[in-house]
């Protein structure tokens, strides 16, 4: 049915499209998404070259990670969705065990215990959890009827809470927010009753005070205060945010030009190649550059949501929607914190900030999207 509809909608392109569609199905690739990702890769490496202080080796390293990431994406895209669903419990348990391993054996870097060293390979298990979490919750919820019942919701919250708590303990607030969000997104898309949502908002609001006083570390509290008024400590904790706002603002409409950003080039902007890279981009390419980047991100997200809507299985739908909206949270939190409307929580700008594991994890997510996108078509092709 749907194939006929599809062909009726674009009759003149039917033959060409169907040929390409068949190729895409065979390879499990979503060409449009791939195009957007390649665009972001190019932008990312370009901005990084400038932000890293014309450091070609670090750009080459990032490029290598991108290649690994693309391969990872293609591999993930080949995995049958049904298999993913069945493997979900193992992924979850494995992820939690790795997080425990980090707590016990992990490397300490910059005051946080986030890394696990296996041979010469060093990675952050919390990145695995970013994918294991939505897969697990989607798998769990798609087993039963939707919207989920209260007991299911409680179980889901438990599943979300355990790894989140472990990641907070590292401590890595940014990643824990992203992991929790990816789980909560699944819950939201599963049709969680609005009254539960309303109740959660009330509970969250009420728990803000104890969270502030008992759960947050001093430096995390400081980050919130700094966001509210960076000028209170202009040479200390407020420095980053003042300098990043200066970088963004001084970029103006069209920016100072590539490699011409004085804030980053002269080291006024700390972390310019990692979490604060959007400030470099804003400074050098201006508001137009920011809007272009946002537009590409928006298309990625819209594409992801389209894949979700078009997916025939609840698992695929939930997973695709959660991955897409988590990607959005990445973008919003990062661009918000650098511009001073969200506290600084250490979330990188997806595909632009330097950082190998994060990129591979993101691309694995896009691999999931592609698997889901092509899975649907496999179901609908006449050959089956």
């Amino acid at each position: 049915m749907s194939k006929q509809d599809f062909l009726r909608r674009m009759p003149e392109a039917a033959s060409a499209f169907s040929r390409r569609a068949r190729l895409a199905e065979r390879l499990h690739i979503d060409f449009f998404l791939l195009l957007l990702l390649m665009l972001l890769t190019v932008i990312g490496l370009t901005v990084l070259y400038s932000a890293s202080g014309h450091n070609l080796p670090s750009v080459e390293k990032q490029g290598t990670f991108f290649m690994i990431a693309y391969v990872t994406m293609f591999i993930v895209a080949q995995i049958p969705v049904e298999f993913m669903r069945r493997m979900a419990p193992f992924a979850y348990v494995g992820g939690v065990l790795l997080l425990l391993a980090v707590t016990i054996f992990g490397d300490i870097s910059m005051g946080a215990q986030r890394w696990l060293q296996i041979g010469s390979f060093r990675f952050q298990p919390s990145e695995i959890m970013k994918l294991a979490m939505p897969i697990t919750i989607a798998a769990y919820l798609s087993r039963g009827f939707l919207p989920p019942r209260f007991t299911q919701v409680i179980i889901v919250l438990g599943l979300i809470g355990l790894p989140t708590a472990l990641i907070i303990e590292q401590p890595d607030l940014g990643t824990s927010i992203l992991v929790a969000t990816s789980g909560i997104m699944v819950l939201f898309f599963s049709g969680l009753l609005w009254r539960y949502i309303a109740a959660a908002v009330v509970v969250f609001g009420a728990s803000l005070w104890p969270i502030w006083h008992f759960m947050l570390h001093d430096y995390q509290r400081q980050r919130v205060l700094t966001m509210l008024d960076p000028t209170q400590d202009p040479l200390g904790t407020g420095w980053n945010i003042i300098q990043s706002k200066t970088a963004i603002g001084s970029g103006g409409l069209s920016g100072k030009g590539w490699m011409e950003g004085t804030q980053s080039r002269l080291d006024f902007l700390p972390e310019g190649h990692t979490d604060f890279i959007i400030a470099v981009m804003s400074e050098e390419f201006g508001l137009l550059g920011v809007i272009l980047l946002l537009a590409i991100y928006a298309m990625v997200i819209i594409r992801g949501l389209m894949i979700a809507v078009n997916s025939q299985s609840s698992f695929g739908r939930l997973l695709a929607a959660a991955v897409s909206s988590t990607f959005f949270v990445y973008v919003f939190v990062n661009m918000g914190m650098v511009s001073g409307i969200v506290p600084v929580v250490g979330v990188p700008l997806p595909l632009i900030s330097q950082g190998g594991t994060a990129i591979v994890a993101l691309f694995a997510g896009f691999g999931l999207l592609m698997a889901i996108a092509t899975e649907k078509k496999r179901v609908m092709t006449p050959q089956s």
């Binding site: 009827f145 939707l146 919207p147 939201f188 898309f189 599963s190 049709g191 040479l235 300098q243 706002k245 200066t246 970088a247 963004i248 603002g249 001084s250 970029g251 103006g252 409409l253 004085t262 804030q263 002269l266 080291d267 006024f268 804003s282 400074e283 201006g286 508001l287 920011v290 809007i291 946002l294 928006a298 997200i301 949501l305 979700a308 809507v309 609840s314 739908r317 939930l318 929607a321 909206s325 959005f328 919003f332 661009m335 918000g336 511009s339 001073g340 409307i341």
Partner: protein
């Protein structure tokens, strides 16, 4: 689970899901709008503010210090130049890090407690936490190398080159050129806003001497540059620059060779020598001995060095030619004589019969002529010429007494006595040429005839500096034309014209008489300094003097033997030459040397020989014995010294050659041994 039920649920789930996607999309759209608005607000609405802030971060204005003008003598000999001095500065944001850095630096180079004290004081006063603070000045090449090797360990340590003053002749010109020093807080406080601007890049200012009096032209004009600095304050590049303008070079009338001649002729005795170019008033030489090394003061003299200079019994910091005031003694007799002629109380031919004593009418006090103690008698019959040449006190006692103080008071000024000479370096003292009014005001006493008697021979209430005596002598040589003594000859390309302060006119025969008397001093049969003119190639005129020493305040620091020596009279001599067409006037003062004619006059002769005949003395060359001062002999002696030196050098070369030959011998024998060994194989 039943198929139908599952299918029905599937439809419903999809519907719920789509509505959730719509809700999420709307929510995302809202958040993206907030983001876009935020970036729009930063980049468009508040663009100006952030653009300014960004520029303020990176662009800083730095002053470009001007290069200080150089100072040359009349022959282009460099007296003051600038050389690079390397300063070690430390940037310290963190205290423990700073302590580690300083410990490490201490192990590499010498850092004294006073260096550290100054460093911590300056560190407290720095304006920004990333400002570099100087820790050590005047790094040696070796220290710079040691720092460079360990650079990777020394974060925040900078070595900066800065041009500082250098005085190649060290102490020889110390009291003339003076020195520059670090601008003190007191000086900064006294600056006008324009001066603050001019000195913004400069750390040094002229403190005394020429450096102080020509500070304004030597300094130059400060430039400025906009530099781009990174977050740690390091300059990355220069954006634009207005160059500084170098200060004007100065050319002085001074002759370095004359200066050296004076020092050599003084043979280490304390005192002062001033030589003036009669036709311009230009100062050819001005020595105050002992001097000090002005280079010590340039980057800040250490406490110990300063203490030793300041407490030295020989007072090297005291400028004797400009600030030491002595009773001029007999050197002013020509002036008194001229006053007598001019006012008509004596004439060229008037003579007295001197028995060696003088009494004021109605007084029983005996004034004894200096010759009485030596011969038991007086000078006999003396006219003015003879009175000058034999330095007859009685003649001038009588003349002074008859003229009265008022005639004398009004006359000194014509020769620059009792007034500042107007020399172009600061801190000049004006001596004393007394009058009734002065005594009444200063001492609350009436003027007594005895006072007049005393000052008629330059004793008592009369004081003059060596510079004043030189001006007085030059004025006599010029027959009344008094030039202002000046060091400066040229500022940049601009010639500094001689300044005539006064032209005193009187009859030519009067000048002939007193100049004749002064010529007799040198060449006459009974002239006091006749031995000094032996075998002279030109005619000279001079006058000796003895300045009585006022009791030195007792001080436990100085032992009595030293003090006894220091109670001897100072020897004075003034002279000019050639008599027919005077070119040079000299004033010599040797402390505690007693004989004006025997001790000070030879120094004056050396100066005149040097200027007129080119017989310059060098500090390390033969200096003739007193009273045996002849250019040919000096030349012969120096030739002898040169010969001896040549012999010594030849001998050393011979020895060195022998040693080298021996070394070659041993090595060649070793080589031949090796050859033997190889042939054995």
């Amino acid at each position: 689970m039943q198929e139908s039920q599952q299918f029905k649920d599937h439809q419903r789930e999809a519907k719920i899901f789509r509505s959730r996607v719509v809700v999420m999309a709307v929510f995302m759209l809202l958040l993206v709008s907030i983001l876009v608005y935020r970036y729009y607000d930063l980049q468009i609405v508040n663009y100006e503010e952030y653009a300014t802030q960004s520029d303020r971060n990176r662009v800083h204005v730095q002053p470009v210090p001007p290069t200080r003008g150089l100072i040359f003598d009349r022959n282009g000999e460099l007296l003051a130049d600038n050389k690079a001095s390397f300063t070690l500065s430390v940037v310290s944001a963190d205290a423990t890090e700073l302590n580690n850095t300083i410990e490490l630096l201490k192990s590499l180079i010498e850092i004294s407690a006073s260096d550290l004290g100054k460093f911590y004081k300056a560190q407290k006063q720095r304006r920004h936490k990333l400002d570099p603070v100087p820790l050590r000045y005047r790094l040696t090449e070796e220290e710079i190398a040691r720092l460079a090797v360990n650079q990777h360990l020394l974060d925040g340590v900078e070595v900066n080159a800065e041009l500082v003053r250098n005085y190649p002749h060290k102490d020889m010109f110390a009291h003339v050129i003076g020195y520059t020093g670090r601008i003190s807080e007191k000086e900064v406080d006294a600056f006008t806003p324009e001066q603050l601007q001019r000195y913004s890049g400069t750390h040094a200012i002229g403190k005394i001497g020429i450096e102080a009096s020509y500070e304004d032209v030597l300094l130059g004009e400060v430039g400025s540059q906009n530099v781009e600095t990174n977050a740690r304050g390091r300059v990355m590049r220069i954006l634009d620059r207005i160059d500084s303008k170098q200060g004007s070079d100065l050319r002085l009338h001074l002759d370095a060779r004359m200066q050296e001649t004076a020092v050599a002729a003084m043979r280490g005795r304390r005192g002062a020598v001033v030589a003036i170019d009669v036709k311009t008033g230009g100062v050819l030489a001005a020595v105050s001995y002992p001097g000090f090394d002005p280079n010590l003061f340039v980057t800040g003299i250490g406490y110990r060095d300063y203490k030793s200079l300041n407490e030295d019994i020989d007072t090297p910091l005291f400028n004797r030619f400009l600030q030491a005031q002595y009773p001029p003694g007999s050197t002013i007799k020509p002036v008194i004589g001229l006053a007598g002629l001019h006012t008509g109380f004596t004439d060229v031919n008037r003579a007295i019969s001197d028995r060696g004593v003088f009494t004021l009418p109605g007084s029983s006090r005996l004034y004894r002529d200096w010759v009485l103690a030596r011969t038991g008698g007086g000078h006999g019959r003396v006219d003015l010429k003879a009175a000058i040449s034999q330095s007859c006190d009685t003649y001038f006692w009588d003349l002074g007494n008859r003229m009265g103080i008022d005639n004398i008071s009004s006359f000194g000024g014509h020769f620059g006595l009792g007034n500042l000479t107007g020399i172009d370096i600061p801190s000049e003292r004006k001596g004393l040429w007394p009058s009734r009014e002065w005594k009444r005001a200063a001492r609350r006493e009436a003027w007594y005839p005895g006072d007049t008697v005393n000052i008629s021979i330059g004793q008592g209430m009369v004081l003059a500096t060596p510079m004043q005596l030189a001006v007085m002598t030059a004025t006599i040589a010029n027959r009344g034309v008094r030039y202002r003594p000046q060091f400066i000859q040229k500022i940049g390309d601009q010639v500094h014209e001689p300044i005539v302060d006064e032209i005193f006119e009187t009859k030519p025969e009067y000048w002939d008489a007193i100049i004749g008397g002064m010529e007799e001093v040198m060449h006459g049969a009974r002239g006091t300094a006749r031995r000094v003119s032996e075998r002279s190639e030109y005619r000279m005129a001079g006058k000796s003097g003895t300045a009585q020493v006022v009791a030195i305040a007792q001080n436990a620091k100085y032992n009595s033997a030293l003090l006894k020596e220091r109670h001897r009279d100072h020897a004075l001599f003034v002279a000019f030459a050639p008599v027919e067409a005077p070119q040079i006037a000299v004033a010599v003062m040797l402390e505690n040397a007693e004989g004006g004619s025997s001790q000070a006059a030879p120094v004056a002769r050396a100066m005149m020989d040097a200027h007129l005949l080119g017989y310059y003395l060098k500090a390390d060359e033969f200096v003739p014995p007193v009273g045996f001062h002849h250019a040919a002999i000096i030349k012969r002696a120096n030739n002898y010294i040169a010969e001896r030196k040549a012999v010594r050098v030849a001998k050393e070369a011979e020895l060195a050659a022998k040693a080298a030959v021996q070394a070659v011998d041993t090595s060649s024998s070793a080589a031949s041994a090796a050859v033997l060994e190889t042939t054995h194989e």
